[in-house]
Subunit: 398 residues, 2 copies
DNA sequence: CGCCTTATTTCAAGATGTGATTTAACCCAG
DNA sequence: CTGGGTTAAATCACATCTTGAAATAAGGCG
């Protein structure tokens, strides 16, 4: 009994959130509830101002239907993208339209957890002020971080590449804000954004394959993010694709990342061209490589497509997804040109049947989607609680 | 309201099924229900004879607790293992103790769907007679098949290796029995058996890695089998581990199966020894290889451990499981000797954090567990329905 | 034998879903 | 402009279910 009403509210609310406007009558059909129950539930939701009426739709001779929709201004959420060299804070309304943003570049966040926290809190204050929202309406703050999030007795962030080794980010942020905090791997939050609003809409099983300097993946299984036993699932970049192959920064050999990560692609090119390693702007270098009209460049790119295609083939064989969504800054640059070749290779390496099911495409949202995806976390909590601030959304003090 | 009682019955029943005996009092704590509700629910379950009282436990001065347990004789289930060269039918009581079995060897089931159906039905009749159970008490028949099960408008079995290309097994069996049918990939049913009664007990995230002539995996994510978009998830054997490596029977190159499948191991050995390919009893040959005291054999086995370890490392990186359970007839033979080496290699290829979470061990149940796991399917349905024959368990006719 | 402790059942109240019925709102023909 | 027709939404009465509290059951122990 306790949470029957809650779950029915959640059903109705989710439908309205993701599938737009419905009348009470249509909601009954869509949610499987009786019309009487929908009436009751909607009545509560309207009274709570979570849902508002959005006009009438006349019909051929009957009482017009009253369309309902989620009230975007009922509450707002904050999304934070902690990248390896920047901190981005954004405020959204309930439907994730951006109200304000604040961005800050850093040389590196390596070993600078305190500075990151400071920037996040400053950006939060700034954004709230700029957007003019009532702080009491903020459902929570979602934070995407560039590493593994371990949920033990305390939430710890492990981001090897920037020297974060068990950073208690939640506790550190908690010292500066009372808002509910939701912290997850940035790859997962980006994936979540694509699932809600991008290339993953409508899919229940998808893999978002992210290629940047590093390589990772976000897995959605049966509609929910799959995190594994300790939040470490989806480490696609360090799967072995070529036993005893190129050395990888993780210490192993033959990892996918060593071939298709931006550093791997550029490194292979410089080796092929007989040049010494050099520190460059990777994004510029990658674009130059794609534009370069040389045998060496073509070969490196062809090989990149072969590795990426085989890697995606592996994802298809193991996860049998409806969608494989390629993203990450390097993934988008490479994908634009190489996607047809990648599809071809994946088709060769994946089994016929699962390959048929999988649509391989590029991410549709920009790189800001890490913050937007982070902001989905408090929204998801809110929807699941049927449009009420659940325990997880209660501010610890008052 | 509709299924609140059902879900509470299911909660109580599952607890009793998987965690043994409880008093009503303890059940209240364990399920989160109030004592009054537990009393009501248990009252119904006892009246339905799904649950029986199992004696008293005295205490220091209070009313003794009445222990409850699932009634093994309330119902029974049938499990069928359709292998590439045999059909095994077993009858179990509700707690999956075997009551009877019937096995039948075939040269091959290739292109012999009709013959398989005939043997399954004959075995079913035989077993029911041998066990003396009332056919009306049979909850259903679970069938594990050696291939992919596609659940579309009609259930179709695709088993490439035996030439089954869209065999409508459910319809074919339906012609010979009214019992509810549950058909799944044999790898999945075996995995299910290990999760309920074997090496996977208590884990919520696990991968069962099966090595036989072919290689596959069964993935359990958050306690439920993960099947992907169309039942084709877990095709571990055809993930690429060595780009452009050994040719695989699937047509691609460098598949894991080409290295660690029984055929792959034996083939590599014969090549290393400079012998021509030969048709042999693979199991015997594999045992001989393990016993052989030669440089060539040692190298082949060492290489096998390296491939298997890297393959398992990939599973760990992608799924972050609590357990990796190695099985399959060849997996058990190889694993017994190579498991330490495999663990070592996996540790090198997997990232540190997810590797730490994963316990790598061997299957605990014998090869009959395919049939037993198949039998868990109707039981799971029964438990989920709160100990009632749900729609899925209703016999189509009367 | 009666008090104490603990387990289970009973009871009354409150919450909720649902089918049937009623009311609301609008179209349109006459 | 009025009344019938039509569809949407609200209301009602009832059945179901959970639950905290109180009552009852069952045994130990002084």
């Amino acid at each position: 009994m306790r949470d029957l009403r809650t779950s029915n509210r959640a059903r109705v609310l989710r439908r309205l959130y993701f599938d737009g406007q419905f009348s009470r009558h249509e909601l009954a059909g869509a949610t499987g509830l009786s019309q009487a129950s929908v009436s009751n539930v909607v009545g509560e939701l309207v009274e709570d101002q979570v849902v508002v009426e959005a006009g009438l739709v006349g019909s051929d001779g009957g009482r017009p239907r009253v369309l309902l929709r989620v009230n975007p201004d009922h509450a707002c959420v904050v999304g934070v993208d902690v990248g390896e060299t920047h901190v981005l804070v954004e405020v959204f309304d309930l439907t994730l339209r951006r109200l304000a943003m604040s961005t800050f570049q850093m040389d590196t966040i390596a070993n600078r957890g305190e500075a990151v926290v400071e920037r996040v809190l400053a950006g939060l204050d700034q954004c709230v002020e700029d957007s003019g929202v009532d702080p009491g309406r903020i459902l929570g703050v979602g934070v995407g971080v560039p590493g593994l999030v371990e949920r033990g007795s305390e939430l710890l962030v492990h981001a090897q590449t920037v020297g974060w080794n068990g950073v208690p980010l939640e506790r550190m942020l908690r010292a500066g804000t009372d808002l509910p905090l939701f912290i997850d791997n940035g790859a997962n939050t980006l994936g979540q954004a694509e699932m809600w609003f991008g290339a993953g809409r409508g899919a229940r099983n998808a893999v978002i394959a992210l290629i940047g300097s590093g390589v990772g993946a976000s897995v959605i299984a049966d509609g929910v993010p799959y995190r594994g036993a300790s939040g470490g699932a989806g480490e696609w970049g360090h799967t072995t694709l070529s036993l005893d192959g190129r050395p990888c920064r993780c210490g192993a050999h033959g990892c996918l990342e060593a071939y298709i990560g931006a550093k791997g692609v550029l490194g292979r090119h410089r080796e092929a061209a007989g040049l010494p390693p050099e520190i460059v702007d990777e994004e510029v270098a990658l674009r130059e490589l794609l534009a370069e009209d040389s045998q060496a460049a073509r070969e490196v790119l062809e090989e990149t497509a072969r590795y990426a295609g085989a890697g995606i083939g592996n994802l298809i064989n193991l996860f049998n997804p409806e969608r494989v969504i390629v993203g990450g800054w390097a993934g988008l640059i490479l994908g634009e040109q190489l996607l047809p070749a990648i599809r071809e290779v994946a088709a060769k390496h994946a089994l016929h049947h699962p390959y048929q099911q999988a649509k391989i495409s590029l991410c549709e949202l920009g790189t800001e989607s890490v913050a937007m995806g982070a902001a989905t976390l408090p929204v998801a909590e809110f929807l699941g609680a049927g449009g009420v601030r659940s325990a997880a959304l209660m501010r610890p003090t008052g």
